[in-house]
C-alpha cells in the first residue's frame, strides 16, 4: 500500500462518498443466468411492486375528505370540490378527479386505502422521513433497507428484487445483498474495446474489501441480468416516466422473470407552491400508469399474483400557504392495489379539525404495520424477521 498514492487519490481522483458493506457468496455468471432463464417464477408466486412518490404527496387532495368543514376552511385556496372530485367512495371521501382509473379499480374492490399512515412524531423532514420509511427504523440505528433485509433472508439471486433505474434506492440495499437495477434504456452486455476483459473483473477476489467486492458483484450482475432481461427490454416504452417504468415491469412480470419485488418511483410531489396544477398532473401520471399496468398484468397469467403498494414520505400541512401550496406535513394514505386485495378503507381518516401541535394530521396507522401486512401476505415473511420487535400488521388480502 502506497500512502502517497492513497493520499493523493482522495482528491485527485475525485473520490466520492463511503458506504455500508453488502456482499454475499457469489455464484458464477453461468449459474445465475442459467438459473434465471431455466427457472421462471413458479405459478401463483406473489409479486410486490413498490411505487415510491418522492417529495411528500398531499394525501388530503388525493383522497379528499370533502365533508370535513375544516378541510375547506383551512386550505380554502386549494381545497377541491365539485367537478374537481370524482363520485364519492364513502359518505365522506372522494378521489381527486385526476384519478379516474384508480377510482374505477376502487369500485372493483381492487384498491385498499390505508388511511393516516406515518411514523410516530413525524419530523417533517423529507430526508429523515424517507430514511425512516425506507429503512423501517425510527432511530437511524438501522441503515439497511427493509426490502434489502428481506433480500438478505433469500438465497442470493440477482433477480429476486429489481429496481428500475440505475441508482439503487436505500430500501433495496440490505446488510448482505442488494437488489439489481434495470435501466429504462435497456440492459445489455458491454461490447467493443475492452469488453472481453470485463466479465473476469466481476469474479470475487479474496483481497476485496466489502465495497470493492460489491463493485465486482455489480459487474457480474450486469452480465447475469442482461443475458436474461436484455432481450425482453428492447421494446421502446412510451408515455410518462412512471408509465415507462411500470410498462417495463409489466413486460418482465408477464415474461415470468423470477422476481418477487420491483421498485419504481416518481418525484416532484413537494408542492410548496402551485399545488393544484402540479399535483393534479402528477396524480394523473400515477393514475394512467397504474391503469395501464393493471391492464397489462390482467392480460397475462400473473393477474392475481401482483400487489402494488404506493407510498410517499409524508402528507402535507392541512393549512395551505399563500403560494397556493402546502408545507411539509405528517400522515397520508398508502394505496395497496391488486386483484387479490380486499378493496376498501382501512384505518381511520384523521380529522382536519384535530391536529397535532404543528398543525398536522394525526397519525392513525403506523407504516410498519402496513409493511407487516405486505411482508406476511405478499412476501410470506414474518414482519419481525425484517423489522425487529415489530408484530402489528394491517392485512388487506
Amino acid at each position: 500500500m502506497n500512502d502517497c498514492l492513497m493520499d493523493r487519490r482522495r482528491f485527485l481522483q475525485w473520490t466520492g462518498a463511503g458506504v455500508f458493506a453488502a456482499l454475499t457468496t457469489q455464484l458464477s455468471l453461468e449459474t445465475l443466468a442459467g438459473a434465471a432463464s431455466s427457472s421462471p417464477l413458479p405459478t401463483n408466486t406473489p409479486i410486490l411492486v413498490i411505487v415510491t412518490l418522492y417529495g411528500g404527496n398531499d394525501g388530503l387532495n388525493t383522497v379528499v375528505p370533502f365533508t370535513d368543514p375544516n378541510y375547506h376552511s383551512t386550505r380554502s385556496n386549494i381545497a377541491l370540490s365539485g367537478s374537481q372530485l370524482l363520485a364519492p367512495i364513502s359518505d365522506s371521501l372522494a378521489f381527486n378527479s385526476s384519478m379516474p382509473q384508480i377510482n374505477t379499480l376502487y369500485g372493483q374492490n381492487k384498491v385498499a386505502i390505508v388511511q393516516g399512515v406515518s411514523y410516530p412524531n413525524p419530523n417533517l423532514s423529507h430526508f429523515s422521513s424517507m430514511a425512516i420509511w425506507q429503512s423501517a427504523s425510527l432511530t437511524g440505528a438501522i441503515t439497511s433497507g427493509w426490502i434489502g433485509r428481506w433480500l438478505d433472508l433469500q438465497p442470493h439471486n440477482p433477480f429476486t428484487a429489481i429496481g428500475i433505474g440505475s441508482t439503487l434506492p436505500p430500501l433495496l440495499v440490505g446488510d448482505k445483498s442488494v437488489a439489481s437495477m434495470v435501466d429504462l434504456g435497456g440492459i445489455w452486455p458491454p461490447e467493443g474495446s475492452g469488453a472481453t476483459i470485463l466479465p473476469s473483473l466481476g469474479q470475487p477476489s479474496s483481497s476485496d474489501v466489502p465495497l470493492v467486492a460489491s463493485a465486482a458483484t455489480s459487474i457480474s450482475d450486469l452480465y447475469a441480468t442482461s443475458a436474461v432481461l436484455g432481450p425482453l427490454v428492447t421494446k421502446s416504452p412510451s408515455g410518462s416516466f412512471l408509465n415507462e417504468q411500470l410498462s417495463l415491469v409489466a413486460t418482465l412480470i408477464n415474461a415470468n422473470v423470477p422476481t418477487r419485488v420491483w421498485e419504481v418511483n416518481l418525484s416532484s410531489f413537494d408542492t410548496h407552491a402551485g399545488e393544484q396544477e402540479y399535483q393534479n398532473a402528477l396524480l394523473a401520471e400515477v393514475d394512467a400508469a397504474i391503469g395501464t399496468f393493471m391492464t397489462s398484468i390482467g392480460s397475462g397469467s400473473r393477474s392475481n399474483d401482483v400487489t402494488v403498494m404506493i407510498y410517499s414520505e409524508f402528507g402535507r400541512r392541512v393549512k395551505s400557504n399563500a403560494s397556493l401550496g402546502t408545507d411539509h406535513g405528517s400522515s397520508g394514505p398508502v394505496f395497496i392495489i391488486g386483484n387479490s386485495v380486499k378493496g376498501g378503507l382501512y384505518g381511520e381518516q384523521p380529522s382536519c379539525g384535530s391536529l397535532d401541535v404543528n398543525g398536522n394530521l394525526q397519525v392513525t396507522t403506523d407504516f410498519r404495520s402496513v409493511y407487516g401486512g405486505v411482508l406476511e401476505d405478499v412476501l410470506s415473511t414474518p414482519v419481525g424477521d425484517v423489522i425487529p420487535s415489530w408484530s402489528s400488521t394491517v392485512s388487506v388480502q
Partner: protein, 401 residues
C-alpha cells in the same frame, strides 16, 4: 516516505494561487435571457434552444474546469458545496443563475462558511428552487427556512417547528429575478418585528438568520460531519476533535485537518466514486478535455448513471456509496470509458509488457490491483486501449479503498 506524504498533502491542499491549468479552461459568458416569451412564437422556440443550449454549455464548462485545474482542491470543494446546497436547474430553468451560484460557491469554496451561508441565503437560484419568492408574511412558505437549517447548517432534529415558522418570517420580503438570480429586499413585504429563532429574539433578516445558525456550535459539528461523509466515510464517525478545527468556520482549516488526520490514509475508509468524480478522475489521468468528447453521448451517459452537474435529484443532494454500484450504471460507465480512452493519452502504458499492469495501477492511482484484476488486465498487454478501458471499470477503480 513521510516526506513524500507531506509533499503530497501540500500539493493536495494548494489553493488560492494562480492555477495554470485553469487558464486554458474555456470561459463561458451566459446571456440574460429575460422572462419567458409568448408561447408558440419563433421567440419561444429560440428561447428554449438558448435554455437547453446554455444548460449543456454550463455542464461542459464545469467538467472542463474540474479536469483542467492544476490544483483541483478548489473545484473539488466547489463540487462539494454544489451537492451541499443542492439546487437543480430542473426547476430554476435558467443556466445564468446556476452559474452565478456556482461562481459564488467557487469563490468561497475554501473561505469562511459564515460568508458562504450569508451568500447562499440570498442566492437567487436557491431562493427560487426553495420557493422563497413565494414566502409571504400573511402565509409563510417554509421551504427555504427549513432546508437551510436542516440540510445546509444544523442538521435534522436540531431545531423545532416553531424555529422553522419564525425563520420563514425572517426570510419574507426577498424578491428573486428568476432569469438573473438577482435577489432584492422589498422592505414592505418583510416581517420586521422581533421573532424568536433557536432561543434568540430579535428582528431578523436573512443575513441575521444565517449568521445566527452559523454561530451555533452545532453548525461546526454538522459541516464537519458532512465533509467527513463525502470525503472519508459514510459509515464511520469523524474523530471527536474534527469539529474543533472548524471553530472559526474556516473551511480551509477543516479540510487541512481532514487531510492530516490518520483516517485520511486508513484503507478501511473506502469510498465509492460518484459518476462525475469517476469521470473527471478518468479525464485527468488520460488528459482528456471533456468538451472535446461527443457531448450528446457524454451527457446522456452521465444522466443514465444518475449524475449531471447542476441537476441533483433533490435538495438533499447526490446519493452516495452503494447507490452508485449497480450493473445498470456500469453499462453506461463502460461506454464512457471507451469514449475517454479513444481520446486519451495512453503513453503511461508505453512500458515493457511485463510492467504494464503495474504501470496502469500507478497511472490511475490504484494502490494495488487484486489478483483477479491483475490477471484479467494482463491478458490485454498487446492492446493498451483495452487494458485501460477495462481498468477504468475495475472494482478497485470504481471504489477507493
Amino acid at each position: 516516505m513521510q516526506r513524500g506524504l507531506e509533499a503530497t498533502r501540500e500539493t493536495v491542499l494548494k489553493h488560492g494561487i494562480e492555477d495554470p491549468g485553469l487558464n486554458s479552461a474555456p470561459a463561458l459568458t451566459l446571456p440574460d435571457l429575460g422572462p419567458y416569451p409568448t408561447p408558440n412564437t419563433s421567440a419561444w422556440t429560440a428561447f428554449w434552444n438558448s435554455i437547453y443550449g446554455g444548460n449543456n454549455q454550463l455542464v461542459t464548462w464545469w467538467l472542463d474546469r474540474m479536469t483542467l485545474a492544476s490544483y483541483p482542491l478548489n473545484e473539488r470543494m466547489t463540487w462539494f458545496w454544489h451537492g451541499h446546497f443542492a439546487t437543480s436547474i430542473s426547476k430554476v430553468v435558467y443556466p445564468l443563475p446556476m452559474q452565478v451560484q456556482n461562481n459564488t460557491q467557487r469563490k468561497l469554496a475554501l473561505g469562511n462558511f459564515r460568508d458562504l451561508a450569508r451568500e447562499m441565503v440570498l442566492d437567487g437560484a436557491l431562493n427560487f428552487w426553495l420557493d422563497n419568492e413565494e414566502n409571504y408574511v400573511e402565509s409563510p412558505n417554509e421551504n427555504l427556512a427549513r432546508e437551510f437549517m436542516e440540510l445546509f447548517t444544523l442538521g435534522v432534529g436540531k431545531f423545532t417547528q416553531d424555529d422553522v415558522t419564525s425563520a420563514a418570517m425572517a426570510l419574507t420580503g426577498y424578491e428573486t429575478t428568476q432569469w438573473t438570480g438577482a435577489v432584492s429586499l422589498n422592505a414592505t413585504g418583510h416581517y420586521s418585528k422581533p421573532i424568536t429563532i433557536l432561543g434568540r429574539t430579535a428582528p431578523f433578516n436573512a443575513q441575521g438568520f444565517a449568521a445566527l445558525v452559523v454561530s451555533l456550535r452545532q453548525n461546526a459539528n454538522f459541516i464537519s460531519d458532512r465533509l467527513w461523509f463525502r470525503f472519508v466515510s459514510s459509515t464511520t464517525s469523524p474523530p471527536p476533535n474534527l469539529a474543533a478545527h472548524f471553530n472559526d468556520r474556516d473551511v480551509a482549516s477543516l479540510v487541512n485537518a481532514l487531510v492530516r488526520s490518520s483516517a485520511w490514509t486508513n484503507p478501511a475508509n473506502a469510498l465509492v466514486k460518484s459518476p462525475v468524480e469517476w469521470f473527471v478522475g478518468a479525464c485527468r489521468a488520460l488528459k482528456v478535455q471533456p468538451s472535446s468528447l461527443n457531448q450528446t453521448n457524454l451527457q446522456w451517459d452521465l444522466s443514465q448513471m444518475g449524475q449531471i452537474p447542476f441537476n441533483p435529484p433533490n435538495v438533499g443532494g447526490w446519493p452516495s456509496g452503494q447507490a452508485w454500484l449497480s450493473g445498470a450504471a456500469l453499462q453506461y460507465k463502460f461506454a464512457v470509458a471507451q469514449l475517454v480512452v479513444a481520446a486519451g493519452d495512453l503513453s503511461p502504458l508505453s512500458v515493457p509488457s511485463s510492467k504494464m499492469v503495474q504501470a496502469c495501477a500507478d497511472w490511475l492511482g490504484v494502490p494495488e490491483w487484486s489478483r483477479r484484476t491483475a490477471n484479467s488486465l494482463a491478458a490485454a498487454t498487446s492492446n493498451p486501449s483495452e487494458m485501460v478501458t477495462a481498468a477504468l471499470c475495475a472494482p478497485e477503480y470504481l471504489v477507493s479503498a
